[in-house]
């Protein structure tokens, strides 16, 4: 190692990589150096090469994936080309994106032990480390639980603990919070801070949730199309370049975006604020100067109004118990009205999905009843209900099986016994609606994840249900992908469909849903207009949720200044600002 390379834990020298069977490089001429003890945030849209970069560090590329690799990767002084994954993984702890895919044993403690056993540690030491790691992530009581029975958040904590226990020198974490609700994500970030402070480890973290990471990371790199397009300290990139990040499809900090827009309105800001506290300080200074001049009539918080009068689905005191004994719903009563856009939110295990499955007849209430278009779900078979209520499952891979996209979309209509002409008409109509009409002859398995999701939606839409239930449509997608899929539902909503979406993405709820049902432990905590619900931080907290940052900022500002608190999006925030300064 020469002098200038000293002190660096990871060095990438002009790395270009192609996956086997692909002509397009996934990474192009990457140069990167990471210091010991540094926390580096890697962000960028889907397909930017972030995961590929992660797989380079512990040698999965090229040793596991193959493909053609140019350039050198030096990790802790070792050229990965001359080593092997088994050895490199004692230095680099890699946390994969999907937690359930990396849990392989029969209990949480076995999961933590697995890596330690491979390291050949003494049994006492292994047991000590298991307790330490589980304590660290707060899973102590779950030691004996099988990993698959944990919630998504707990699985992610378990996977993280299994890496922690191996005490690697370098952590590479690929979207460690993708399955977590807002408060769960915050806990993971706190945990990372603890590791970096207490253990001085080098951490690479791939994330889309930029807001929460501002004060955690030392440096940010932004990737796009296989290249590093930006590099710098987090305040500079997340603050100054917020608009650029937004443009390439990332979720820039809302407060920074808001500040940039404010600047455009001619408002003088000393610097770009990033956090709620900074935002509050910055804008309260401005409002202080014009206090008394703020004169917008205070509207009452937007109350929940039925969009349509007609209650098409009635849920009456529904209880549901799974054969395992878990009581997932405890007396849920609510109505769904024609033409609504409803979000059902809540933690993993709060009963969201169980409620949704009771609505389309996949599950039937243990007690109480569900009336769908005047049909009691207990009395009619499911294939009668599905032409009224369609259910789009989270993972398209759970349902695609045909050799042709056309057959996939035609499967549902065939099952409900439509004529050939009618099926043909519907397939074409639906595929046009979703912009996949040119893919009808393709093989579903060969298409991208985004396209497969569209096909899955189309295969439900082709049965022409009035109501569409969508389960976690945005999980595992970058902010642009999220908006793309949500815009499909927005379009369907404008065409008159009733949309019920299950999600834990609060920004999505704020932007799209008119009404919001918050669930916790099998009960409805609050049911009202999205504005109404997001004003109740106390109730949301019970369900481990938090309103968007911009909403939190406005709520804080409104307690001192005469402005409206129920602001859900940056766009709305700007409008408030505009109306204030028009008055001035």
């Amino acid at each position: 190692m020469n002098l200038e390379e000293e002190g660096y834990e990871i060095i990438l020298k002009n790395v270009t990589y192609k996956y086997p069977g692909s002509d397009k490089p996934a990474l192009k001429n990457i140069d990167l150096k990471v210091r010991k003890g540094e926390i580096l945030l890697i962000t960028g849209p889907t397909g930017a090469g972030k995961t590929t970069l992660c797989n380079l560090i512990n040698g999965l590329i090229p040793h596991f994936y193959g493909g053609s690799l140019e350039g050198d990767i030096i990790v802790h002084g070792i050229n990965t080309k001359n080593s092997y994954v088994g050895y490199l993984s004692t230095i680099v702890g890699l946390l994969f994106q999907d937690p359930s895919s990396q849990l392989v044993t029969a209990s949480v403690e076995d999961e933590i032990a697995f890596g330690l056993e491979n390291l050949g540690l003494k049994i006492d030491e292994i047991n000590e480390r298991i307790d330490w790691a589980l304590d660290f992530v707060g899973l102590k009581e779950y030691k004996q639980h099988p990993p698959y029975a944990l919630s998504g958040g707990q699985q992610q904590a378990c996977a993280l603990a299994s890496i922690l226990a191996m005490k690697p020198l370098i952590y590479v974490l690929d979207e460690p919070t993708s399955n977590l609700d807002p408060i769960g994500s915050l806990n993971v970030f706190k945990l990372l801070r603890k590791i970096s402070l207490e253990e001085r480890k080098t951490i690479l973290i791939v994330e889309h949730k930029l807001e929460e990471l501002i004060d955690l990371v030392d440096r940010v790199i932004v990737m796009n199309e296989g290249k590093i397009i930006m590099e710098g300290n987090p305040r500079e990139i997340l603050g100054e370049e917020a608009e650029f990040l937004n443009k390439i499809g990332l979720e820039a900090p809302q407060i920074a975006l808001f500040a940039h827009e404010a600047k455009k309105l001619g408002i003088n800001l000393p610097s770009i604020p990033l956090t709620i506290d900074e935002g509050y300080e910055c804008f309260s200074n401005i409002f202080e100067n014009i206090k008394g001049k703020i004169n917008i009539p205070q509207e009452k918080i937007h109350q929940f109004e039925k969009v349509g009068k007609e209650a098409i689905i009635q849920v009456k005191d529904v209880w549901f118990q799974y054969p395992s004994g878990t009581i997932a719903l405890k007396g849920v009563t609510t109505n769904f009205y024609k033409g609504e856009f409803v979000a059902i939110i809540g933690q993993n295990g709060s009963g969201k999905t169980t409620l949704a499955k009771n609505i389309n007849g996949l599950l039937r209430p243990t007690k109480g009843e569900v009336i769908v278009y005047n049909m009691n779900t207990k009395m009619v078979p499911i294939h009668k209900i599905i032409s009224y209520v369609g259910y789009v499952f989270q993972n398209p891979d759970h349902q695609l099986f045909s050799r042709r996209v056309y057959d996939e979309i035609a499967f549902g209509p065939k099952n409900i016994g439509l004529s050939k002409e009618e099926i043909d008409k519907r397939v074409i109509e639906v595929s046009k609606m979703l912009n996949i009409e040119n893919l009808l002859e393709e093989k579903p398995y060969e298409l991208s994840k985004g396209h497969r999701q569209r096909i899955a939606i189309a295969s439900i839409l082709s049965m022409m249900p009035e109501v569409l239930i969508i389960d976690e449509p945005t999980t595992g997608q970058d902010p642009r992908g999220k908006r793309e899929v949500m815009n499909i539902f927005k379009k369907l909503h404008s065409l008159g469909k009733t949309i019920i979406v299950i999600t834990h993405d609060m920004n999505i709820v704020a932007e799209y849903a008119q009404r919001c049902i918050v669930m916790n432990e099998g009960e409805i905590l609050i049911d009202g207009s999205t504005k109404e619900v997001f004003m109740r931080e106390d109730i949301l907290k019970k369900a481990h949720l938090k309103p968007p940052i911009i909403t939190q900022l406005f709520k804080k500002l409104s307690s001192n200044y005469n402005i409206k608190p129920d602001v859900l999006t940056v766009e709305e925030a700007i409008n408030v600002l505009k109306s204030i300064f028009k008055v001035e």
Partner: protein, 282 residues
């Protein structure tokens, strides 16, 4: 679940898994040796006794035995077709001209059916009182490569995951109107295609995920020096137990092959004696 473990503090829970495997082998030898229907029935009863001793609820036992009762009857019936009519008296034919029913073939049928039940009960008994992890350690201690034991362990741990996944696929297809519950076997096969294809696809994906995950947790670092956190050790009680079951097996084998004990004939003789007594009384 097929491989459930019921925790407990009985002697069988405390035995080393290797002891239990040896016990299993000896029982197999005894089963081979003993043809006498009554003795086989007695052995079966004593296996039921073991369930009681190990504190396994009777409900569990009936849950194991009940589903195999049809097989029990099938064993007896099929036996008439395959074993030649031994013994002079043919009572009747099961099918005209075929499958003669004699006292001897009936006994042979009952014995093999009892053996079948015994085999199932003893296998389930051992898995009920031994955690799978322990069995895997026993396998690797007995000389299997470490990769083998780990692979088996991961396979067992994957079963509930795959069942969950299978159920999700069924739900997803039901939501598209797939009629999965079909009575006609050919229709049923075609109805299952939409369930089987995604399941296979997802299972292959999971296989790749698993291999990537274990590689990244240093599995290939130094497999020969891998630690097994859970250890097993043979104690005095293990040796005593093995000695006991070995002695019983040897005695039975000597009696069987040296002195022609435990043959069908002996049951037959016993039954004839009883009948004589009954007839004399009347």
């Amino acid at each position: 679940m097929a491989l459930e473990y019921i925790p407990g503090k009985s002697i069988f829970h405390k035995l080393d898994p290797r002891t239990k495997m040896i016990f299993f082998l000896f029982i197999l030898i005894i089963l081979l040796a003993v043809e006498d229907t009554i003795i086989v029935a007695l052995i079966l009863l004593s296996i039921f006794g073991l369930y009681k001793l190990a504190g396994i609820p009777m409900k569990k036992l009936t849950g194991i035995v009940k589903p195999i009762l049809p097989a029990f009857i099938l064993f007896i019936l099929l036996n008439y077709f395959v074993s030649p009519p031994r013994g002079a008296k043919i009572y009747f034919y099961l099918v005209p001209g075929m499958a003669p029913v004699t006292l001897e073939t009936t006994l042979i049928g009952i014995t093999s059916a009892l053996r079948f039940i015994l085999f199932i009960c003893i296998t389930r008994f051992i898995t009920l009182v031994t955690p799978i992890a322990d069995l895997l350690i026993a396998i690797s201690k007995m000389g299997a490569p470490p990769e083998f034991a780990v692979a088996l362990g991961i396979a067992f741990a994957s079963v509930p995951v795959l069942i969950n996944q299978f159920q999700t696929v069924i739900e997803a297809q039901k939501s598209r109107g797939a009629k999965i519950e079909q009575k006609n076997p050919i229709k049923k096969f075609f109805a299952l295609v939409p369930v089987i294809v995604p399941s296979i696809f997802l299972t292959v994906l999971r296989g790749m995920d698993i291999s990537r995950a274990i590689e990244s947790k240093a599995f290939t670092y130094n497999p020969a020096k891998r630690t097994y956190r859970k250890t097993i050790s043979m104690k005095k009680i293990d040796y005593a137990f093995i000695a006991l079951i070995a002695i019983i097996t040897i005695i039975i084998s000597i009696l069987r092959w040296g002195f022609n004990f435990f043959r069908y004939d002996s049951t037959l003789k016993f039954l004839i004696d009883i009948m004589k007594i009954v007839f004399k009384l009347t």
